[in-house]
Each structure stands twice: as structure tokens, then as C-alpha cells.
Symmetry: C2
Subunit: 547 residues, 2 copies
């Protein structure tokens, strides 16, 4: 019998771009390729296909049909990958839940998604028990507990038990490519989480365009068939940047690390020969520190695509010292997420500068920088404006929030709220978040630039620069520094910055009058520095350890 996924005979030559098509060819071409989960479980692509069929079949038996929503709450796992395919392929919607949210936010997210089924890892059993009474629409709970039937009551079933009940054959329907495939909530630092959604067409186009961009990158900056892939961005977060779909389409070996524990990550890298990952700078820093503390010298070859926040030069160079090739990408929850990828081609620009900027827009992306009145600004790598975007995979709206949606799409372009410059070759450099830009004495101060420069001091581990209200200057920059040792103090940092002022690389007024020191910076649920919290603390006068 042909090894293939069932396809409805209703599909004619009006071909729909469906998530289905990402899976089918790869499973065929690489049936024995492996998908690994921690040190616990290994399965082949052939088994992935069977389990996707079983999951869809079992969910159908539970009453899930086209248009229904299934919510998912797991660490990064092979099971998460199964839901990435099975749920959208059924015509249902996958809601990926950020398990780091508060109970209140979780209730808000799951309820607004209209989910009728929740799949959750046993690690989240307590919080699920807490929110369950507030979610009457949830009629079925699927517990991930490795066959341990801890399920409580008739509305709960264990994931592996459920799969056993399903059929390894399932006939997936064909439907319009604009059907919603996934939804999740952005973890903005203001207000309630906002729901974004992506259609099958958007996921397929994102997968193709990012594959075209990544596979054609220079050696050491690329993702190709012979790589081993391990995500280090949570799978609830914009489909782990869409890379699991790409890895599957190419038939690449995939390693899912579950909960991010440094020892486990380093162990998997070594034992499974992981060669491509992606993460926020904080996770990269965590890995480098863990390796250092364990006395591991070389981590390469390991290409690490960095997003979420700017990739500091100091971190990029620390990574390279460990034989790890770190390059920046740019995107956001609303943009699917991939928009641009850095690329070093040896064209005069030094390697660190080339790899630390947001980089070149990937195929089909249109990028512009605009002023307040949407006037298009020149591309000279200097002039800064808000980065606005068009691409076929940008979210169409925030579900149910007309006002925010209109603001997002003002003038027919998606507004990133990032301040950027673009060079004459179209390469994007992010200068700051609009909200984080500091206006001091009538001049713009880039918090990102200051952070970047302060981080270049060898005694600095982490830093955040925020604006605080000031009667004289309007706002003034304050730097909050995490030092590596006791030798770092305010005067050392200021002296360090003065060198850049003297060299003409930093505006004199940008040097923070106040530099505070702390043990660690608050981070958001996706690992970015929580500047909102810092600003609130500072403006309330509750600063941490003063210098």
C-alpha cells in the first residue's frame, strides 16, 4: 500500500494551501528520520504521521469538528508538534497557551479562544484545576502523563491512552486556505493579552518563504536538511517562530527539550548533535553561562537564530567564542513571526555588525520606515522611523478588538512599534521600541543603543535602560545594570560610555546621569526584559539596590 496521507477526492486543481501539505511529502521522504523528546522518547516521522492521524481520529470521536478550538498547554514536545498538524488539518483551531501567564490571564485567554478541549501537561495540573471552574465551555480535558492514568473524572483522558483509542488512518478534509489554523495571545506589556490568529495559507506561505530564506543563507547561518533542530523558543510562542513546520517540511531530525533546563539542553546538544536552534538573548546567555560553569569549551557547530530582543554584540561575540554561530532575526507575534534574517556575506560590513542587526527582509516581505504622518523615510542606515510591514502572513487583526486592529493596520501597513533604520540594500536595524525611546532635552535617546554599549563592558552581565520623568529634561535615561563582579560601579560605566562620546558614537546627553545596580532584571513570560515593570518601579521611586 502506498505510504501516504489520505486526501479527499473533492480536491481538484483549485489547490488550497493547507498545513496538511507541509507534512505529507516530508513524512514520505524521511520516514525513518527521528523526532526526539528529551532523554525519554524517540519516534520516527512515520510514527509522527500515524500519531497525527490517531490524534485527529480521537479528537473527532470526542466531538471536535471543523471550526472548534483545541487549547494546548505543554512544554516543547513531540506531542506539541502533533497538535501543530492534527488540529489545523482537521479544520479545527489550535490555541497555543502561554503557561507562564497568571491564572486570571489564562482564564481570559482560554475563554476568549472558545476552546472546548484543553490538552495539558501534568506539570500544569494544579493551575488547570484552579482555572477549570471558571471555564465551563471546556468540556474535555486531555492530560499528558505518559500513560499514567491520573485523569480525574469522565471529562478527562490521558493523551497516550487517547491516541491508542484513535485510528492510524484518518481522512483529512480539504477546505478554504483562509480558514483559521492557529490562535494565541500576545504577551504585550500593557493591558489584556491580545488574540492573534493565522490561517492555513499564512502558515504555508511563512513556511515556504522562511525555508527559502534560511536554506539559502551562507554556511553556518543556514538551516538545511542535514541539520538537527531543537527549538529554544516555547512552542506556544508564535509556533516556535514557525521553525517546527519548516523542519518537518524538510524532513530534518527534531529534538524537543521539554522544559528548558540548561543541563538537559547541553546534554541533548551533545548526544543528539543539535546544530540549529533559536531563542531570545536571555536563553542564549543562560546556555553560555551553564556551559561555562560546567567547563564546556566548544558548543559548535550550533547555529542560533536570535529574536525577541536585540542580539547584543557582546553576546554574539561570546557565542562565537564558544563556536556557536549566533545571528539575529526579526519578527513579532503579529507578524507570523519571521520578517527579516541577518546575513554576513563578507561585503565590507564586519561580521558582528552584519549578524546583530535585524537583517534582510525574507521573500515576499515589504518593509518601510515611516514618520508620524506615515511619510516614507529614506534608507540611509541613519534616519529612523517606525518600521511598518506587509507580507502574506501578517495577522489580519486582533480578534474582537476593532480599535487595536485599526491601529495595528493604520494606513494599510502593519505597525511594529519598533523604531528602525534601513540601509540602501534594504537591511533593517532596529533602534528601539517606540515605548522605550527616551526623549531627553528635546532629543531622542535610544535605550537599545545604550544597552548595547554598556553590555560591551566586560564587567556587565545584563542591562536595561529606561526613561524616568524629569522636571528639567522631560525624561532622562536611567541604566539598571547587573554586574559580573564587585568591581563594576557607576563611575566605571560612565567612563566606559565617555569613550563612545569622545569617539563621536554617542550623544553626550544620552549618558545616563543615574546608574543603578541589581542582582537580576525582571523578565516577561517570553524572556524579554520587562521594562514596563522597571519604569513603574523607578517612577514610583522604588529603585532596587542603589549605586
Amino acid at each position: 500500500m502506498p505510504v501516504q496521507l489520505a486526501v479527499s477526492a473533492a480536491e481538484t486543481h483549485t489547490y488550497q494551501l493547507l498545513v496538511h501539505h507541509i507534512l505529507e511529502g516530508a513524512v514520505l521522504a524521511a520516514p525513518e528520520q527521528e523526532i526526539v523528546y528529551r532523554d525519554r522518547h524517540r519516534q520516527t516521522y512515520r510514527q509522527l504521521r500515524d500519531r497525527v492521524n490517531r490524534l485527529a481520529s480521537a479528537l473527532t470521536s470526542l466531538g471536535v469538528s471543523e471550526g472548534d478550538t483545541v487549547a494546548m498547554m505543554d512544554w516543547d514536545s513531540h506531542r506539541y508538534l502533533e497538535t501543530y498538524f492534527a488540529v489545523p488539518m482537521m479544520g479545527a483551531v489550535l490555541q497555543t497557551v502561554n503557561f507562564r501567564l497568571s491564572a486570571e490571564q489564562l482564564i481570559y485567554c482560554v475563554r476568549s479562544s472558545n476552546a472546548s478541549v484543553l490538552i495539558f501537561h501534568r506539570d500544569f495540573a494544579a493551575v488547570v484545576d484552579a482555572i477549570r471552574p471558571h471555564l465551563p465551555e471546556l468540556r474535555q480535558f486531555i492530560l499528558i502523563a505518559d500513560h499514567n492514568d491520573l485523569a480525574s473524572g469522565p471529562t478527562e483522558i490521558e493523551y497516550e491512552t487517547l491516541l491508542t483509542s484513535g485510528s492510524p488512518q484518518f481522512s483529512f478534509p480539504v477546505f478554504d486556505e483562509n480558514a483559521v489554523a492557529t490562535t494565541f495571545h500576545t504577551t504585550g506589556t500593557t493591558g489584556n493579552p491580545k488574540a492573534v490568529s493565522f490561517s492555513h495559507r499564512q502558515l504555508v506561505l511563512h513556511t515556504l518563504a522562511v525555508t527559502a530564506a534560511l536554506a539559502s543563507q551562507p554556511d553556518g547561518q543556514a538551516l538545511r536538511r542535514d541539520d538537527v533542530y531543537m527549538p529554544l523558543t516555547p512552542m506556544f510562542h508564535v509556533h516556535a517562530w514557525g521553525i517546527p513546520y519548516i523542519a518537518t517540511m524538510l524532513g530534518i531530525k527534531q529534538v524537543y527539550p521539554g522544559r528548558y533546563e540548561p543541563e538537559m539542553l547541553l546534554g541533548l546538544r551533545q548526544s543528539e548533535k543539535v546544530s540549529f536552534s533559536h531563542c531570545v538573548p536571555t536563553v542564549l546567555q543562560m546556555i553560555l553561562s551553564a556551559a561555562e560553569s560546567k567547563g564546556i569549551v566548544g558548543l559548535g557547530p550550533w547555529t542560533m537564530l536570535i529574536g525577541g530582543s536585540a542580539l547584543p554584540r557582546s553576546l554574539q561575540s561570546a557565542a562565537e567564542s564558544s563556536c556557536l554561530s549566533a545571528l539575529a532575526g526579526y519578527g513579532m507575534s503579529e507578524s507570523g513571526p519571521a520578517i527579516a534574517i541577518a546575513r554576513y556575506v563578507g561585503d565590507g560590513l564586519d561580521r558582528a555588525t552584519a549578524l546583530c542587526r535585524a537583517g534582510y527582509p525574507i521573500p515576499l516581505v515589504q518593509a518601510q520606515i515611516v514618520g508620524d504622518d506615515m511619510q516614507v523615510l529614506p534608507w540611509d542606515d541613519k534616519v529612523q522611523g517606525e518600521l511598518v510591514l506587509r507580507a502574506p502572513w501578517l495577522t489580519a487583526s486582533y480578534c474582537g478588538d476593532l480599535e487595536a486592529s485599526q491601529s495595528l493596520w493604520r494606513g494599510g501597513w502593519l505597525h511594529t512599534q519598533d523604531i528602525a533604520s534601513i540601509d540602501s540594500n534594504g537591511a533593517v536595524t532596529i533602534r528601539d521600541r517606540i515605548k522605550d525611546v527616551i526623549k531627553s532635552g528635546g532629543e531622542w535617546v535610544s535605550s537599545t543603543q545604550l544597552e548595547e554599549l554598556i553590555l560591551q563592558h566586560p564587567g556587565v552581565r545584563d542591562v536595561a535602560v529606561v526613561g524616568v520623568a524629569d522636571q528639567k529634561w522631560g525624561e532622562r535615561p536611567v541604566a539598571i545594570v547587573v554586574g559580573k563582579n564587585e568591581f563594576i560601579d557607576q563611575s566605571v560605566v560612565k567612563e566606559h560610555l565617555q569613550h563612545f562620546v569622545d569617539a563621536g558614537n554617542l550623544n553626550r546627553i544620552a549618558v545616563p546621569a543615574e546608574i543603578l545596580f541589581t542582582e537580576s532584571l525582571p523578565k516577561t513570560s517570553v524572556g524579554k526584559t520587562d521594562k514596563k515593570q522597571l519604569r513603574e518601579r523607578l517612577n514610583d521611586g522604588i529603585s532596587s539596590t542603589d549605586a
Copy 2:
């Protein structure tokens, strides 16, 4: 000023997949990258963009508007590339004309395309003069004559003169992605040429999917940013397999060889460092012979994607001896054309076998083999059936030929008329054309297999096997051989084949009773062996030099 293509403000977040988007990012990222035409002309991507704008602007002045058709008749050139973009981007339709057709066929093709403008190279002036009186709908002729104003009369203008009259700025419209972008006629071996067409959506999806497939191939089998590309399949033929669109999207250096002259091709390879091309086996053979006769030993690194006809093992191995990496692809005019690409990954299958088969379907392609009643046949690399396809870039119909269109899409799948087997990993091997299969004594004989085996004899340069009517056997195979020297004769070939019979690799009844010798085989206008002509000759009893 930002270096960018003008984009209409009417485009909102309902993003249309337009050919426009293939061009814009690349031109930005690689403005100084080169496009070379023979030893005559060099231009940058920046100039490409300006010239595309000028061409569109000038064509608009000539009255060309959305939905109009512009016919193109040139050798492979930078100007052809300009029409690939400018004409579809205007919303007009590019008709690529096969200049090897007879005057009668040319009239048929140009008339049925409803072209109002014809762009043609001076080399084709005589034939254009001959067909012109029969094409009253053609109201404008654009002559490619390198500024030599040989234009005859008020309806004719020279191409470079025309571009000078155009503006380097042009605001391209945004329209539905399903608008037709290109048309051309398939040069089938039976009946009138049939018109196929491709939409913007189809071209964009083909470009993305083929890029994803080619860029992620193993080293030496891939097309990536640092390659230098030269087409060796005419640009009138299915957009030179779509590779000029891919090369442009990736910002790759492109070399256009004009008329295919072996000395020029070898010279360009060397001087421009060409590293990726594609062609039919005949052209590869021509290049190898030319290199041999000039005493050139190494031709590599040069990756050559082979399509149109099967890639014989003997030719693949001859290519490798010249440091040229030849791999097969599979496609047809109706399929956009790319469907599958061979890949050697060292997984047990030997390199030549892996690289000579049609290979793995590229992303989004669905392939099946079916029997006479459309029953799906098993994938065991042995069972053979007609290869049928689905992909988002298959032509929807033969324009104006309902019956042929229905036959093409019988049962909702595109019928290739190729007999194939598929292995358990989805890799396709083409066994024969349906029309070329020989039924002898109730058994199927594969003409392709016989040709492949006969070509393995070192004394054979070229061969075709066709069936001729036979009272006793129904049909019997006849081989027509082009020898390399006088030592090859019927008995030598038969003895050579007998080895394969003895080894169990060839059915005894497949050994041709009759083997004829000739100086050269007739070829179709795209370089395939014209078996129809051979069959007619043989069945009329007009054989060539008898053995």
C-alpha cells in the same frame, strides 16, 4: 530616497501573490549584483529594476494595459528577463514564443495568444517579416538590435531606443493574484501546439517551493546565493524552468548566453564562473563533446539540473568525469514545470541511481501513480502506472481546448502521460512515456530502459527505441543507434544487451530484433528525440542507414 519599487497605496493586508514581490527584495539586497549577456553586456540588479520600470512605462505609452498580451521572441538574454518581470507586473500577459517552430505554427501561436505587441531579436527578422502579414492583431513590433535603428516603418521601434523613451520610475498596479502572468504553447509531438498559462500566484508559489527545495539540497546538488546561474534551457520554454525567477529572488549573479553556441557557453562558464545550469540531456552531451574536442578536462564545480528527457547513467557518469554534477529533475510544460528533484544523500542507494531518477516531489506537490481506471497503485519502486499530480502551480487548462483540458485533469489530477514507479519514500522514477511504451507479445517493454542500457555501451553516442507494428508480436522494439565509431554494429549491441538479460535485469523479449544505425537522431524544438518522426519513418519502411 529609498531604493524601492513603487507600490500602490491600494494594497492593504489582503496581500496578493504577485510577480512584483519576487523582484523587489532582491533588487534591494543585491543592487550591485551582475546580470551578464554573452561577452557583450553587463548590468546590475539596480539597472534591471530601472530597465523593468522603463520597459513597463514605454509599453504603457504604446497602449499596452492590463490584460493585453506581449509576445517575446529572443534568445536567452537580460532583455528576456526584463520582460519576465515588466509585462506581468503591469498586469499584462507575457507570451513566450518558441522561435524554432515553423512559420505556420508561429502564426497559430501568436494569433491564439491575442498578442498586440511582438518583441523580437534581429536574428528572427526574416521569419517575423514572413508571418507579419498574417497577424493583423499585432499593432506594434519591437526590434532587439542593440540601438541599431533598423526598425521598418512607424509600427516598429528598437528595444533600447524604446527603453530610453521610458521612465525609470513606474507605479505597478496591484491586482488579483489569479490574473494570468504568462502563456506559451507546448510543443507536443502531436497536433497543433497547445496553449498553457500561469497566474501570478502560480509563479510565486513555484518560485518559493523550488527555492526551498533547491537551496536545501546537499552541497553540489543545490542552488544558493553564492552560485552563478546560467540557463541552458530556452527562456521561451516554461520560463526556463522558472529558475530565472528563483535566481532573481535570491539576488544571484546571472549569465545569459544568447544563442547556445558551445564555444560561447564554455567561455562564459570559465570567465563568469558559472556554477549552476539546467538543460536537456542533448545540451549536456553537446557541452561535454565540445569540452572534449577542445581538450578541456575539468568543467567543475558546475551543477547541472537535467530535465526534458531521462538523464542516462552513462551521461551522468560522463558529466561527473568532467567534475560536473548532473542531477535529474522532473516536470513538464503543463506543470509549471518543477515537480521533483533528484537527491543523493548517501542512504544506501548508489549516487548515479539516486541522481538519475526523477527524485523527490518538491514541497506542496502531491504525486500518485494510477492504473487505467484511476485506481491508486502501490509504492514499491516496481509497480508502474501513470504519474498524476496536484500542486498549486499546475496549469488549469489548455486555453480554448475544453476536451484536451478535461483529459488533462481527468479525475481531478493532472495526467502526465508518463509511466512511473514510486518507492516507499515517495521518490519517483520515470519508466517511459505512455506513447513510447511498446507492447510486444502481450508484455510491456520500456523504451527508456532499453535506451538507458544501450547507452551504457562505450561505443554508443545516442539511441532511440521505438515500437513498430508487427504482425506476430503486435509491436516490436527497434533501436536506432548513433555510434561513436565504426566498431559498433548490431551484434555488438545485442551482445551488450544479452548481459543484462543474463543478469536478470532485462526481459528477454525486450531485446530488439532490429538495430539500425544513423548519423544523428531527429530532435524536437526543445531538444528531445522526436520519436514520432522516427516511428513514422520506420512504419513507412523508410529506415535510415540499415545495419
